[in-house]
Structures are given as C-alpha cells and as structure tokens.
Amino acid sequence: VSPGTDLMSVRTRRTARLLQVVQGEQPSILVADQLRSQAGRVRTFTQEIRVPEGELLRRLLAEAGQGDEIEMVVVTRFSDQGYVTWLDEFAKRPSTREER
C-alpha cells in the first residue's frame, strides 16, 4: 500500500477472465474484461492487479487457472502520493460445463 494521505479508496466487484497468475517478488494477476458501450462497440481491457496477500495467492494458484472466469473484489487506494490497486478477494465462477 502506497504511503501518503488517503484521498479515496475504491472497492469494486466484477467478473473478469483470468489470463495469468504472475509469481515473484510482487505477485499479481492479469485479467481481461470484455467491454461494451451503449452503442454496442466492444474492446478488450487488460489489467494487472497486485496480489499482496500470500494466502489469497495460494488459493488462486490452487483454484483458478488461465481462462477461468473469476469474480473478484479489487481495491484501488488513491493517496496524495499516487494510487495502488490490489486484489482483495476472488471466487472462481463455475463454467457452463460445471453448472450442468
């Protein structure tokens, strides 16, 4: 979490496609969202989100894989020093096959 005085924290819950779990000094995930405008135009948005919590990372590696749809809670904290985004929670969404 970045230092500095809090300006605002934004907590969102959304579903995205997991592209990759990046391990290393600063673990993160890459996710892709399919965006659609009111006019029906589409584009792909990719985002890299930090996963600072070790237990969450272990769960991710155990429960989710590339291409899975995950429902996630993401927090972005804006401070006077900058902003930082991290994964706070996730749940793998059952695939169509699993739902049957």
Binding site: L7, M8, V10, T12, R14, T15, L19, Q20, V22, S28, L30, A32, D33, Q34, L35, R36, S37, Q38, R41, V42, R43, T44, F45, T46, Q47, E48, Q66, V74, T76, F78, G82, Y83, T85
Partner: protein, 292 residues
C-alpha cells in the same frame, strides 16, 4: 511590379541562395570530384545513415557528394554516392531515397517504402497528429494543455460519449486515424458507475504523467454498459495500423483499438506478461533527442 523596398529585402536573400545553391545545382559532379572529404553528413542525415546501416546491415546511404543545401522553403537536400537525403522543414520529415525505395525515420523506427507509395501518416500531412507523431522536435509540439483543463475536458468527453481518448498535447483523439495500443496494464483502474470523480481523474492523470508527457501516449476512459463500471487506462496512440499491430504483438496484447472506426482489431496475443518486460516508460521506441 515589386516595390523597391521588396527588392532591397529580397536581393541579398536571393544572392545568398544563388551563391549557396549554384555549385550544387549547376555542377554537382564538380563537388563530387572534389572528394568526400569536402563534405559531411550531420545531425538528422548522419543519424538516418546510421539507422539505415544498422537495419539493412549495409551502408545503403553512402558517402556525401556535396554539402547539405536548402531551398527557399527551407527544405534540406544532400546527395550521396547512393542516393538523396531529404529533410522537409514544414513537417520535419527526414528520409533517404535510392531512386526506388525510401527510408523514413520516425519515432516508431526506420520505415521503408517504395517511392510510389506513402505511409499512413505521410498521406495525411494536414493532420497535425499524424505529422507530429512522426517525431517532430518538442519545440514543434503544441504546448501541453493545462492539467485542470485536461481533467475538465476528459470528464466532459466521457460524460458525453461514455468514453474518451485524450492526449495532453492534441486533446480529443477519438475519431482520428490512430490506433490505441494498451501497453500499460498495471496502470489501469476500474471505478463504479458512469460518473468519474474529478479528484480521482486528476490523481490518475497526475500519476501517469511520466507516460502522458510523451505525445504518443493518451489517457482513456470507457463506460462498460454490461457491468456499469468505468475503466481508466493509458495507451499508446499509433498513427500506422501495421506499426500498432507490431507493437501490440511485441507486448503480447490481445487487440488494438481503431480510434477512427471504433473497432477492435485482434492481434493474436494472449495478454499474459512477457518475460523481461521493460519498465513502463521504456516500452515505446525512444523519441528524437529533443524528447529524450
């Protein structure tokens, strides 16, 4: 009939041009006969020769045959043993032709084309974005828009269109013949709702100034009607489709976005992070020295 005053002003200029240009235009072979040591390639011409040599693996430009000379319009020319070096003052276009092909320098690297065709940004010289993005010196760029105005305009555009692509130098980029390439997924932010809080927008732009100071980089917003969230990101805005696709592939991106047609173009990448990914501020080719 020119007035005496005009003649007084123009005569020394004309005389100087004639003195400079005559030996070159009238008797180029005389100069060449004087030997290559009598001239040299400097600045952009020397840089272009280095580029061509590095990229092509051979010195296709050759030695100079004359000093660089300028026409009344300010354009610069210099013949070499293998062709002609050209600098166009109005657009800061620098190129070399061997009579059949032309090599053009740009911040996207060295571009080669046939003499009978033009690159995308060459075809639209009236478009300041296309012209300036080819690597005009910083002094030729418009002054950056003030931060408060940037925030205000992005918010207005986003509210009106459910999205925006905004450049600190050129303003609204939507509808221009450019391609947005997402190179900075670690900088993206997702917010609840359609409305973007001005304080958050200001912070987002401020924190990405290291990238947005580059005139090839823009800030983007998009309201996703499917989940009611607004997405903020930073992307390169590239004037040439082939270059945009090449850049996206270089960084394994899934797609690019056509800002003119508002269509996504798949590029075949998977979106995963590549090994040895450069820091964000080194993912684009280095601009000309003025911006280094």
């Amino acid at each position: 009939m020119p007035s005496p005053r005009r003649i007084r002003i123009w005569f020394p200029v004309l005389l100087a041009v004639l003195l400079c240009a005559s030996p070159v235009a009238g008797a180029p072979n005389d100069r060449a006969a004087a030997g290559p040591s009598g001239c040299e390639l400097v600045l952009g011409f020397a840089q272009l020769r280095d580029w061509v040599t590095r990229v092509e693996g051979a010195d296709l430009v050759g030695e100079c045959r004359e000093d660089e000379y300028h026409t009344l319009s300010g354009d610069g020319f210099q013949r070499t043993t293998r062709g002609l070096l050209i600098w166009r003052k109005a657009t800061h276009w620098t190129g070399f032709t061997d009579g059949q092909s032309t090599w053009v320098s740009s911040p996207w690297g060295l571009q080669k084309r046939s003499n009978t065709e033009l690159l995308a940004w060459e075809r639209a010289p009236q478009d300041p974005v296309a012209v300036l993005l080819q690597g005009a010196p910083l002094a030729r760029l418009p002054a950056p828009i003030e931060m408060a105005e940037v925030v205000r305009q992005v918010e207005v555009l986003h509210t009106a269109n459910d999205g925006s692509t905004f450049n600190l130098y050129f303003g609204d980029m939507a509808g221009k013949r450019l391609y947005a390439v997402s190179l900075y997924p670690e900088r993206g932010v997702v917010l609840e709702g359609r409305h973007v809080d001005l304080k958050v927008l200001h912070r987002f732009i401020l924190d990405n100034l290291d990238l947005l100071r580059d005139p090839r980089v823009s800030v983007g917003t998009w309201f996703n009607a499917d989940n009611g969230m607004t997405y903020l990101d930073v992307s390169a805005t590239v004037p040439d489709r082939a270059q945009a696709i090449q850049l996206a592939r270089q960084y394994n991106q899934i797609a690019i976005f056509d800002l003119y047609s508002f269509e996504e173009i798949e590029t075949g990448g998977t979106g995963t992070k590549m090994d040895n990914l450069p820091p964000a501020d080194r993912r684009l080719p280095v601009l000309w020295p003025e911006l280094r």
